[in-house]
Subunit: 353 residues, 2 copies
DNA sequence: ACGTATAGTCGAAGCGCTTCGACGGCACGT
DNA sequence: ACGTGCCGTCGAAGCGCTTCGACTATACGT
């Protein structure tokens, strides 16, 4: 008892096979009357078009691939939301989303996958500033779109977090709270040098935002561990005791900072304000106090990526879609008014006795 | 300049189309010599078999679906690892993984998807104790496997976290640290009643482990918020002041507990030990102190789920595979030796003045 | 020597669909 | 009245592959 075919539907509706196809896809006009007969036959049989056959004949599989780095140890709730957002958007538009976990540099693997003609297009996640995968896709001529973007993206479609704007928002919020000495805590220098977009763009955004506000930008790279966070923070406060607020890209290091602050006897947000950049609620709510954060609209980005790609696949005019989404500020408990530095210094002196 | 077809390979190697197919799949013997010629032709042309055509002809698409609840607000790093683990395993075995985000109860939607004959089998995530999706899949006769399992799973294949064992391990660890009064913090009663497997099984495991160790099991349901965690903890300590350790299934509530403990002047782990059950490193490392946790082998579970399913698809003997994976204990800073309760009582008295 | 199995290959018939060309019919304009 | 054009439908030709039956050549047992 296998699935009904279009042929069976046609027989039951007393029409030719092709007429059923036209009725289904609207490719050619079909009279109201026959269309009704066909619909009825379809629902009586519980007919669903065979996806593979349709794809083979039409050369459009209605499948798109989501390309993301394999074994992403640094991934969390944010990335999961990209994926689910993308999958839902695809489903809503009648597409299937397949997952292609591939090493960023395993370009030949990607090429093999693409050559199987399984997918109509590719959505690339975690795009680096210079990204071989993008170069390959361009060269092969596969339609693609990105979540993130390389440094030269002027001629490509993408949806990305607006890191510059996000950093500006963080700085603006802290300035509004009265802070005048704000430091920026980045990921490691290695990641930055490797062209990790979020790291590079947020750093640039911070630099710019600080100067625009008339502040002296202070930045630190930091490994993605609590210990590194402690160390970098100690060094930072040594070098710049006047710092009262921190904007951090680095969640794990942030925990270290909070620890270091605590061991100095500093309270957050009373003695130090922290704003966490690009943090999911899931993570920001785990600390004490919970982190005031700029939360990415991850699901929305996934959705946008898919929409952009499908737009490209279905329209002929093939327009460029480039969308930057800022993060949303969620005020929790880690940022407050600028503290009295003198008082703070006393605390530190006391705790280091 | 479209992709080369098998026909072109055949021509170039001076053999029949079917011979190429045999050489590729090993369906029938092909002489060493011709096989080499064919291989060469394939690599010269950069041939990759057309996935859709292959699927249509063979009735095996080599695509499997991953079914997971739409808009999973409670999802995090653990679930992402299921997905990536599954995707990698599928890829390693020559399969593609498509994502089907569907409401748990939207069974007709699932039926439509299955009828498209796009996938050879389905891997179901987040299985409830009683799950309509499973019933549907069984009834339609689609091969499937699960991450998680319904209450009556004796005749189905699955891979699941061993919640009972995980809870036993947590209890054992706390007992070993000298704790004799251990409380269990669950998710909400609603989730429990809805047949949320982790909640139900961990609760059972705790009950059993506590009794086996000669302890009186103390359990609490708790909403998934820090505030609920605070309230439930206060009530718990009121009712059972002798409790020195907590095993928690509920990460968000755990934060509330830590907060409540801190406001009593209690230090963790000195005055209260906490072990977090089924927590990813990502989350467990955000608190101060970081949480000693039982971490699920999520990627491994995803992999197992896929392997199980593919085994079912490719073998004829269709054997049952049922795997339970315990979580691994990762010792961080939230659990320590059983405290001096008298001292703790003093702290509490002092802070409530 | 003979039948019989097996290796190695070919051609052709689909898999279930889309799409092209063709064709009859009816509505137009003139 | 007659072309012209579009509506609505049909049949057939693929899409790129797997698989079946058939065929030849070689190896085997007796």
């Amino acid at each position: 008892m296998s699935a009904p075919t279009m042929q069976e539907v046609a027989k039951r509706a007393n029409v030719a096979l092709s007429t059923v196809s036209y009725a289904l896809n609207g490719t050619r006009p079909v009279s109201e009357e026959t269309r009704l007969r066909i619909w009825q036959a379809m629902s009586e049989l519980g007919y669903q078009p065979h996806a593979l056959a349709r794809g083979l004949a039409s050369k459009r599989s209605h499948i798109i691939a989501l390309l993301f780095p394999a074994l992403p140890r640094g991934f969390g709730a944010t990335e999961l939301e990209f994926v689910t957002g993308a999958a839902e958007a695809a489903q809503g538009r009648g597409y299937h989303l397949v997952l292609w976990p591939t090493e960023i540099h395993a370009v030949s693997e990607l090429q093999q996958l693409v050559r199987q003609s399984l997918v109509d297009g590719v959505l690339v996640m975690e795009v680096r500033l210079r990204d071989e995968r993008i170069e390959l896709l361009q060269q092969i001529g596969v339609p693609f779109s990105m979540i993130g973007r390389p440094s030269t993206a002027s001629d490509m479609s993408f949806a990305d977090i607006d890191f510059e704007q996000t950093t500006r928002d963080a700085v603006a919020y802290l300035v509004q709270l009265g802070h005048r000495q704000i430091a920026f805590l980045n990921h490691s220098e290695e990641l930055f040098d490797a062209g990790y977009g979020p790291s590079v763009r947020a750093a640039a955004g911070f630099e710019q935002a600080a100067r625009a506000a008339g502040l002296t930008p202070i930045s630190r790279f930091c490994g993605d561990t609590a210990l590194a966070g402690q160390e970098v923070f100690e060094e930072l406060i040594q070098a710049h005791p006047e710092v009262t607020a921190l904007a951090s890209m680095n969640e794990r290091a942030t925990v270290g900072v909070m620890q270091a602050a605590a061991s100095r006897g500093w309270k957050i947000p009373d003695d130090l304000s922290i704003v966490s950049l690009v943090s999911s609620a899931r993570v920001a709510e785990m600390t004490l106090p919970p982190l005031t954060a700029l939360t990415p609209q991850s699901a929305e980005l996934g959705r946008l990526g898919v929409e952009t790609l499908i737009g490209q696949l279905e329209e002929d005019h093939n327009e460029l879609v480039q969308r930057l989404l800022p993060c949303r500020l969620v005020i929790r408990g880690s940022a407050g008014p600028s503290p009295d530095i003198a008082r703070r210094a006393l605390l530190t002196a006391a705790s280091t006795d």
